[in-house]
């Protein structure tokens, strides 16, 4: 999909623009038809006057002859004729017989919107304040017997001016309507956007751990306000559950660790006695090793549980992943070398994410330990850190071990799903509880990232995607 410019991505803005357009088009159509109808009415009015006048004069002529018509024309042109009236009577050679025009107009315009009859428009030149001004005239012509022609018309300058002013007024009205609509639209969408942004901001704060935060509501009880109230109710429930969960979690951790602690203390105290029998000492040492194993599993399980519960991190900090990857590479490189493996890191500089350095470090450690345990002799492990599309941080740990069949990749991330593949590394591996990858998955989720297992053919690539650090 094409990306819209930022301003248009808001649905309120789009809606406002749509409304402005629709309203402006509707108002424009309405005003424009009012204009056209008014213009038509004006023309009809003139035409009717001209027609009546012409018919009257023709009746004069038909009844009383040329002399009477000429007298009537002279009378009307001179004194009490209607305003702007134009009369001309010509002989068959278009010579003036009577009327207030000096001669037959040389340039004429055909008229297409008039009643039946012979109509025309032309301009006459009038002197006004020492200037020659064109006055448009609309006129009807009638043929009289003997080849004479009678023309009766009206100076339509005033009406033309009126139409012009009326059109300007309507264009202004449309422009002002659009402007007003736009102002209202911008104001409305700004207000809506501001409220939505406030909600989004509050939600982000809540997601990043401030569970006591609530959305503002202004009591207006409109849709947004109702939504805020409902979301607040939901947050109350979530907070309540989180508190219960955390308390349960804390007391479970405490109730399991305290007895384990006592067991360990007892064993250690007994082991400190100098005159202990050798076989007893060996039994106690084995027991202590088992206690340590239980303890290790418990720690990891509690960590997974806590991360999965989405308990917000109190320790969210800016973590320089580039530096962390280098440090972890340096930490594990000698051990890799000891096992005959190569461990390399390829990192882009200054890649940062927001989160817990400790948990991220532990995740990288788990991935490296997994890779160490499964990479074959002479194998190589590579840690890659990059930023994709400028917005996604990708951390990959790749080995060339046996890999994980595609069908197992989803289940291997669940706790205790140890694969039926034999680690090749060596000592200490029977301690691996199958929790390593689960913890990584939980930590990645806690950082709002994504974990994907892919094929390195041969080998496994564990790919962790995070959001880049933003202030």
């Amino acid at each position: 999909m094409m990306r819209l410019p930022l301003a248009l991505r808001s649905s309120a803005t789009r809606l406002a623009i749509l409304y402005v357009l629709a309203f402006a088009i509707a108002a424009g159509l309405l005003l424009w038809s009012v204009f056209l109808i008014t213009q038509r009415l004006l023309v009809r009015e003139f035409d009717l006057v001209i027609q009546t006048d012409l018919r009257g004069l023709k009746e004069h002529y038909d009844g009383e002859g040329l002399g009477a018509l000429t007298a009537a024309l002279n009378r009307r042109s001179d004194s009490w004729g209607r305003t702007g009236a134009v009369y001309l009577l010509v002989d068959p050679q278009f010579k003036r017989i009577a009327g207030n025009l000096s001669g037959w107009p040389p340039v004429q315009r055909p008229v297409d919107d008039a009643a039946p009859g012979e109509w025309l428009e032309f301009d006459i030149v009038a002197r006004e304040r020492n200037e020659n001004v064109d006055h448009p005239v609309r006129a009807e012509i009638v043929q009289l017997d003997g080849g004479r022609r009678l023309m009766v018309g009206t100076d339509i300058t005033e009406s033309r001016n009126f139409v012009q002013q009326f059109r300007n007024a309507i264009l202004w009205a449309i422009a002002l309507t659009v402007l007003l609509c736009m102002i209202i639209g911008v104001w409305y969408s700004r207000g809506l956007n501001r409220r939505v942004r406030a909600v989004a901001l509050a939600c982000e704060k809540i997601i990043s751990g401030d569970l006591s935060r609530r959305l503002d509501h202004d009591g207006s009880n409109d849709e947004l306000d109702q939504l805020s109230s409902i979301v607040n109710l939901m947050l109350d429930r979530i907070e309540q559950q989180t508190v219960v969960l955390r308390t349960t979690f804390d007391s479970t951790a405490h109730d399991l660790r305290a007895p384990l602690h006592r067991v360990r203390m007892r064993i250690e105290e007994t082991l400190r006695q100098p005159n202990l029998r050798t076989d007893s000492r060996s039994v106690l040492n084995d027991t202590l090793a088992d206690v340590e194993r239980v303890q290790r599993t418990l720690v990891t399980l509690l960590q997974i549980a806590q991360a999965e519960a989405g308990a917000p991190l109190a320790a969210r900090e800016r973590v320089d992943l580039t530096q962390l990857v280098d440090e972890m590479r340096d930490l594990y490189a000698p051990e890799a070398k000891r096992r005959g493996l190569t461990l390399e890191a390829r990192s882009e500089p200054n890649v940062t994410v927001r989160g817990s350095r400790q948990l991220l470090a532990q995740s990288i450690a788990n991935l490296l330990e997994n890779a160490l345990n499964y990479a074959p002799g002479q194998g190589s492990i590579e840690v890659r850190l990059s930023v994709e599309n400028g917005q996604r941080v990708v951390l990959e740990v790749a080995d060339d071990g046996p890999g994980i069949p595609e069908s197992d990749r989803a289940t291997v991330l669940q706790p205790f799903r140890r694969l039926e593949r034999a680690p090749v590394g060596g000592a200490g591996l029977e301690q691996s509880s199958g929790l390593g990858l689960s913890l990584v998955a939980a930590v990645v989720r806690l950082h709002r990232g994504r974990l994907v297992l892919t094929d390195n053919s041969p080998g496994l690539i564990v790919r962790c995607e995070f959001e880049t650090f933003r202030n």
Partner: protein
């Protein structure tokens, strides 16, 4: 040295007191937070070991109240929570070190010793010297017997950490925390590999081995013979 142990788990407290006494410390025990705070303010202690979750008054609250009264007795927090956040909160409240239960007793002793020694040596130094081994903290160089030792940045930090605690037992966890700032237990014994590399650089070719393994505990750097 006088240690105050604030711990509500009576049996655990008994074992700890006994162990600490065997290691040469005199121990006072308080079984709840209120009593603990009272004793801490009344008595004069070199170190306080406080459980995180206590009846009446939380371990962190005790530290906060002590610090408010300008009492800077070092406090080691013992916690059965052990989450990343809990550790951060503990140190933010003014705790000096944090140990998750269950822990090995040697770990506790090593940390107690480190906290007690830390107090007495606050002066700014630019050079550290043990026998014929000398490091320059400004130039970040190390010499043994006048000969320059090539070290990586981390190896130098590791050596500095050990030299600052000469004669003390330093556990693997303490090294991981102090040198790498990592607060979890790796599955493999990474630290051993790093220490043995450092040892190669520092002790190889010299009669006196300065970096020594303490069985079942960790390492120590010392120059006495034996």
């Amino acid at each position: 040295m006088h240690v105050l142990l604030i711990e509500d788990d009576i049996e655990a407290a008994r074992y700890l007191s006994k162990g600490l006494k065997e290691a040469g410390y005199s121990v006072d025990h308080a079984a709840d937070g209120r009593d603990g705070l009272y004793r801490a303010t009344e008595g004069k202690f070199d170190l306080i070991i406080a459980d995180r979750m206590l009846p009446h008054l939380d371990g962190l609250a005790i530290i906060a109240q002590l610090r408010e009264r300008d009492d800077h007795t070092p406090v080691l927090i013992l916690s059965a929570l052990g989450t990343v956040d809990d550790r951060v909160r503990g140190l933010q409240a003014g705790g000096d070190d944090y140990l998750t239960k269950p822990f090995a007793f040697v770990e506790l002793i090593a940390r107690v010793e480190a906290l007690l020694r830390r107090r007495s040596n606050n002066e700014v130094t630019t050079r550290l010297r043990v026998a014929d081994l000398e490091i320059d903290l400004l130039a970040r160089t190390a010499h043994r017997g006048g000969k320059l030792i090539e070290l990586t940045v981390k190896e130098f930090q590791l050596l500095e950490f050990l030299m600052r605690r000469r004669g003390q037992v330093v556990t693997r966890t303490m090294l991981l925390e102090g040198v790498w700032d990592l607060h979890f237990d790796p599955q493999t014994n990474l630290i051993d590999v790093h220490v043995s590399r450092l040892r190669q650089a520092v002790d190889k070719g010299f009669d006196l081995a300065l970096i020594r393994t303490v069985r079942g505990a960790g390492y120590t750097l010392r120059d006495d013979v034996g």
